[in-house]
């Protein structure tokens, strides 16, 4: 009966109930949309990070990333070809990318600049690293003397597709080595720091230049963004002398810090929205309860305790919160699917130089969070509004007009 009464009490003043429902719905819906928007941004960041540079994670010799070595190649992976074959047998591993990175000089005969070289399996990588934007030419594939330049680097050397460039570097034994390469393409990732320094050459060419058969790292491309811990566990049990590092650690500055920053921002926005909802509901419920003061006095005159009265009013608040929360969630799903279904075009994010589309990605736990918070806000607001009234002297309540 209490639930029935609570439900029917919502029909007493349709305008007030509508206002309260809309307040809660707006709060819950905003939380849901905002959370989905953040998730969408983070997913864009994540996909960009995974498919532009790092893969889902990388394998190094143990502690390689934490140390600075005079001769880093002494700590590179030597039996990588056999390892690559075995890695491909691990469930979820779709791509294996052996890599070397080294600093070198690039010259066009007039200008010489330093850059960071990545020796990669171009054919394999071009299938996975699809957010690498090829501005001119083609991606590095199986061109033995090809070089793919970052946009800023190409500009510094005034190079375009088809031009020749000479790469100078030291072998691992300290002697000079060089190669004449042809620019096959110019890329940009959206990250300026990356685009101004990096260039890619075929792995075989890089190993020849360095005069080594070792690779510095092996990046992995998985079939799922959530499979890394399972894959890492399999790798470490097979090769305990290696480290398996996920992309969010490799790209802590851009990705993980952004995630942490947006999470903090979301927590703050959540508090603001909750406060607005609580104040809005408090106002509506307070006004409504003042009109019912005599009725509540009558309840107590007939034996209801102040807790009974409070329970009834809280039940009403909860029903209001649940209905408002459900409305808000439905509204946010409608917005997600039909109104913002094509995404929102965003200006370049920090560290990026290109626009991107953000999609509202609402996950089940976001729905639960927004729904629960809407109900809690309504419950709390009702409690603040009803507590004093439930404690008011019975005769005073009955006398009130």
């Amino acid at each position: 009966m209490i639930f029935k009464l609570a439900l029917r009490n919502l029909t007493r003043s349709p305008r007030r109930t509508f206002a309260a429902l809309m307040t809660i719905a707006l709060g819950s819906g905003s939380l849901c949309i905002f959370n989905g928007f953040n998730h969408g941004i983070m997913n864009q960041y994540k996909q960009n990070t995974i498919h532009a540079r790092y893969g889902h994670g990388q394998i190094h010799e143990k502690n390689y990333r934490n140390q600075v070595y005079e001769k880093p190649w002494d700590h590179w992976i030597s039996d990588w070809r056999e390892m690559a074959r075995e890695l491909k047998q691990i469930p979820h591993v779709n791509h294996v990318f052996p890599r070397v990175q080294f600093f070198s000089l690039l010259t066009n005969g007039k200008v010489t600049v330093s850059g960071k070289a990545q020796g990669v399996d171009g054919k394999e990588e071009s299938q996975f690293f699809n957010t690498l934007n090829i501005e001119q030419g083609v991606n590095l594939s199986d061109q033995r003397d090809g070089i793919l330049l970052g946009q800023g680097l190409a500009r510094s050397l005034d190079l375009k597709v088809g031009d020749r460039v000479t790469l100078l570097t030291n072998t691992v034994y300290g002697s000079m080595n060089a190669a004449d390469l042809t620019v096959v393409g110019i890329f940009h990732t959206g990250q300026k720091e990356f685009d101004d320094n990096l260039f890619r050459i075929p792995l075989d060419q890089a190993l020849r230049l360095l005069d080594t058969q070792k690779v510095e790292s092996i990046a992995l491309g998985l079939d799922s963004d959530h499979a890394w811990s399972e894959v890492a566990q399999a790798i470490l049990s097979r090769w305990p002398n290696l480290d398996a590092i996920p992309f969010e650690v490799l790209d802590r500055v851009y990705y993980q810090n952004s995630v942490d920053w947006l999470k903090s921002q979301f927590a703050m926005i959540r508090i603001i929205i909750l406060t607005i909802v609580i104040l809005g509901i408090f106002n509506t419920v307070s006004t409504s309860l003042l009109d019912r003061k005599q009725e509540l006095g009558n309840l107590r005159a007939n034996g209801d305790s102040s807790q009974d009265v409070l329970r009834l009013l809280l039940c009403e608040g909860l029903v209001l919160g649940l209905l408002g929360g459900a409305l808000g969630i439905m509204g946010s799903l409608v917005i997600q699917k039909w109104i913002l279904g094509h995404g929102i075009l965003m200006p370049p994010a920090p560290g990026l130089t290109r626009q991107f589309h953000v999609f509202i990605e609402i996950e089940p736990e976001m729905i639960i969070t927004a729904f629960t918070l809407g109900a809690i806000a309504s419950f709390l607001a009702t409690f603040f509004a009803a507590y004093q009234l439930s404690k008011a002297p019975i005769a005073a309540s009955l006398r009130s007009v």
Binding site: L5, R8, G303, D308
Partner: protein, 227 residues
């Protein structure tokens, strides 16, 4: 059921003071009286005489400030809130001038509400609701909501709600003030017959001489004192 006329209330030198800011109003001053079970009492007096305050004290909805008030042999000022709630729930029934019905519940549900609070099972509740609504001749209107009824019908629903609890005492505060004379007489006539048939003590607060005519004892108050 015949009236046993055992002592229900004993008030001895009861005083009550309202404080409105700096102003103090002595609503009752040293009022002493006894009320026996089955009596039909009218509390009368001019506005501000203290009759509603006395009714509130008898209904345990106002705390005794001075003097002694005993209800069913128990000193009211020593009762805990939980015990007072229990007495209000089972032993006291209220009828108010402005009915205080739940507008969102039907007549039937309004009557049933406090029976649920009494812990009666569904069958007992249905039985009592039917008896109460039949006795006020509103069983046919049981599905109607209060706003779909006349003032007299609403007051009869309020009476049905009070009697369905089967209380020892029914306290009625100006029960006919919102009604026309004919309906008021009808209501008082019904309350009188209930008192005669069931032995339920009836205490009616009113300054309407018509109401007093239906009672067998009159307590007259003037300036907070018994007249």
């Amino acid at each position: 059921m015949s009236a046993s006329y055992s002592l229900l209330y004993e008030a001895s030198k009861v005083s009550f003071l309202y404080r409105l800011g700096d102003t103090e109003i002595q609503a009752l001053e040293s009022v002493s009286c006894e009320i026996k079970q089955g009596e039909r009492i009218s509390l009368s007096g001019p506005s501000g005489s203290g009759k509603s305050t006395l009714l509130n004290l008898l209904g345990l909805i106002e705390d005794v400030q001075a003097g002694s008030l005993r209800f069913m042999g128990r000193e009211v000022s020593k009762l805990k809130e939980r015990e007072k709630n229990r007495l209000r729930k089972f032993e006291l029934g209220f009828i108010f001038q402005s009915f205080h019905l739940f507008p969102v519940l039907s007549a039937e549900e309004n009557v049933e509400y406090f029976l649920i609070k009494q812990g009666l099972n569904s069958k007992q509740r249905k039985q009592r609701v039917k008896e109460a609504l039949e006795s006020v001749q509103l069983w046919e209107h049981r599905q109607k909501k209060p706003l779909e009824m006349s003032g007299g019908q609403r007051q009869r629903i309020a009476i049905a709600r009070a009697i369905a609890k089967k209380p020892q005492v029914i306290l009625a505060d100006e029960p006919t003030a919102s009604l026309d004379q004919g309906t008021g007489k009808e209501i008082m006539s019904f309350l009188k017959s209930l008192n005669e048939k069931e032995g339920t003590t009836l205490i009616v607060c009113s300054h309407d001489p018509m109401v007093q005519g239906y009672c067998n004892r009159h307590i007259q108050l003037k300036d907070g004192r018994l007249g």
